[in-house]
Symmetry: C2
Subunit: 456 residues, 2 copies
């Protein structure tokens, strides 16, 4: 596998040109006028997989945008790796903030600038080229399957059903995903956890109409006052969520892993400066990376009620509303948490108002143990090419489909991300450093090598 | 004065036709396209006063809509009554909910239906006709001045300056106002108090942009969570405002007046049913009428922040906002309360956010003692025509100009309202019962009679 660097060097212009062809397709999944582009992007992926060496590849239908499946079987007894990626991208608004055309990639300052350059066209494409290298040089020791979906940016709505209907087709020993970031170019890391999510809307109704705050104020419960008090009590003075039972199923992270996580570079002053706050706030007894990585959180995502226009209008409003969410950690079941919260929040409502809680959304957390063969293989692969043992990182965000894969297919995912925080995914001027792109193509073949030996 | 009933009977059709001419002028002060109508309404009032027997009447300019002043001096040594009213009306939106043209008055079911039928064209016009009766029958024992403004519904913005510049002109022993309501047709009442008002906007800023609630949630203070907790703590479990010093200047109402106030008919079940709530909520130790009449209140008039659209969007928002107000009682200074609140609210803000409090609006409370000559005269007048001693009522609402009169002119107002709660002022299908209209014309002359003797 010593020739991988040379292979990249010999083919880099072609790799970029192929990636750019993919990027030029404006495959925005949320934009219904882009439906044909979504199909073109899927067809393009079929072509990419076949040219890279897949035995077969096909565009498969779902109730939404299509899915691309491809595979190459080398040996019935070899381990099977399922590569997951997505070909849909986020919208480009506000387009006026882009320095270049989002769908005409340019290379500048050592980076590819375009929508999808990182997320996830650039990162998924690394897998196609790593696969091509292994096939062309006869070094592929695993069976490989590819699953490229078109709805990741809109919640992977139809992928669970696709998985249910194609369990045999998707059978594998591990799912390999590059759709996350690493800490820094010189600090490789592997995302070992994703938080789950519970999301509610609460609607508080007081009087049957907006009332005159002079005539009624002081005698009639104000739904906003009530909602504020109810929400204000959901976090105690130690930053803990007060919903009874909320922490019952939280798995405490081993001291070894906390210690390893603690090695990740973290500069509190820089962190505060980047978001413009003077002080951080969170659960007592945990560091900032732990608060977002291994602890659940509670946030009000939105609140509204009464008069919100210019100036002073006095009103005792009839209604108040809020959108509330919790990020959950592994072993917390989002259904259970959603029900616990609903029961509690409704139980603390005073008689003077009516409180309704609706569960809007949910997803399970995901954790990848750091002692499974696939994680060890990934660790060794980064060690090989970056010269450093990668840091396991619990990300605060959620990729719901990863836990769905585990539930439906029973397969763990390893999140080998090569993106950087500065890549501006989902924002104007998305970019992906060429160095990360090529380093990804260089690292992935080692994963296959080490995974194959770990599984022997 | 026994002939007042007969005088009304003989002239009722003319009274109504004259009132209707006034009502037909669409004098909506907040609508800049109605500026000419505002002037026409003022000219109409000048004509009404002159025809009723004023020695002089004139339309006087302000920086906004004009003011009408008229007077009749009977005796330098007689007491002087200044009648205050307004000729501007509220907008008529939503006009589709009106059963008849808002500016074409009709009589149906014993009521006048039109915008301004009660507020305040109908009620102010009663004073012109009571005055006419006294002049025409040579029974006027007081000097009378009229001040009819055109900006009451938009906050009487220019009237304070007008008062400052015309103190001599407006000199009087009492101000008489019919711009409030009484409890019921068979339960006369006099509004003896109006609450003051302090109004703030609070802006809470956390991070410098909306953050990903997964990546940052749990480690960064969420401005909505913080705002909710801060607001939630402003009322304690006894319904008391927790701002230090808030109650320092609250005048406790005498037990005699509380006892008198308690005689006003009040049915808690009907009250709750009318506004559609199962339970009331307020300051411990006070009845509902006391909570709105003699105690200060605290209400959130509006709140907003984060994502408020359809469905579930996760965000840790940068900002949260609320509009807060307190109704104040006599002796609470709105400037002092505004400052106390601002200082306290900013002091309880955690380091993790920035909190700004802006004072948007304020007005002093007003109270009319029940033992002054003008109040006693009003009491006797109602007793004469309704056969019952009127109940003193502290209204929760605010008419800021009434306390401004006291501050600038040093004159107390007596609020002899003849409207009913069912008159739908400020709403579609405003109406004014003919019986109240004529009863007002019948009652007002007795006020002059008894005021004159009280002042001897």
């Amino acid at each position: 596998m010593q020739d991988i660097k040379q292979y990249i060097e010999d083919n880099k212009d072609r790799f970029l040109e192929e990636l750019f062809e993919l990027i030029r397709i404006p495959s925005i999944s949320s934009d219904s006028s882009r439906k044909e582009d979504m199909r073109r992007a899927s067809e393009k992926w079929k072509q990419i997989l076949l040219e890279a060496g897949a035995d077969r590849a096909e565009v498969m239908e779902t109730k939404g945008h299509p899915v691309v499946f491809g595979e190459k079987m080398v040996d019935k007894n070899a381990p099977t790796v399922l590569v997951y990626g997505h070909t849909d991208v986020m919208p480009v608004d506000p387009v006026e903030l882009w320095n270049t055309d989002p769908f005409e990639p340019v290379i500048k300052d050592g980076k590819i600038w375009a929508r999808g350059a990182d997320d996830d066209k650039g990162q998924a494409f690394m897998h196609a080229k790593a696969f091509e290298y292994l096939v062309k040089t006869n070094q592929l020791e695993c069976n490989v399957k590819f699953l490229i979906e078109g709805e990741e940016e809109i919640g992977s709505e139809n992928l669970p059903e696709f998985c249910e209907n194609n369990k045999e087709l998707l059978k594998a020993d591990v799912i390999l995903v590059s759709d996350t970031s690493m800490l820094a170019p010189d600090t490789p890391s592997i995302t070992t956890g994703l938080r789950g999510l519970a999301y509610w809307q609460v609607d508080v109704t007081g009087p049957n109409r907006d009332l005159h705050s002079g005539i009624f104020g002081g005698a009639v419960a104000n739904p906003i006052n009530v909602l504020a008090k109810m929400i204000g009590g959901l976090l105690d003075e130690n930053g803990k969520v007060t919903v009874p039972g909320f922490y019952d199923d939280v798995l405490e992270v081993s001291s070894e892993e906390r210690e390893l996580m603690g090695r990740a570079p973290y500069d509190e002053e820089k962190y505060k400066a980047a978001i413009g706050v003077d002080a951080l706030q969170g659960e007592d007894g945990f560091t900032t990376p732990e608060r977002t990585g291994i602890r659940p959180s509670f946030d009000v995502c939105g609140i509204w009620g009464g008069y919100t226009g210019e100036g002073a209008k006095t009103v005792l409003p009839s209604k108040a509303h809020a959108k509330l969410s919790s990020r959950l950690v592994p072993n917390q079941d989002h259904h259970k948490i959603a029900d616990q919260f609903k029961a509690y929040f409704e139980s603390i409502a005073p008689d003077s108002v009516n409180v309704e809680v609706s569960v809007l959304h949910g997803g399970q957390a995901y954790v990848c143990p750091i002692d499974i063969p696939a994680y060890r293989a990934a660790e060794k692969a980064y060690q090989e090419t970056f010269g450093k043992r990668p840091v396991p990182v619990r990300s605060g965000g959620s990729i719901p489909i990863i836990s769905t894969f585990e539930q439906i297919l029973g397969i763990k995912s390893v999140l080998m991300g090569f993106g950087l925080e500065s890549d501006a995914i989902h924002s104007p001027n998305e970019n992906y450093p060429l160095e990360q792109f090529f380093k990804g193509i260089e690292t992935i073949p080692y994963f296959y090598k080490y995974f194959s030996s770990e599984m022997k």
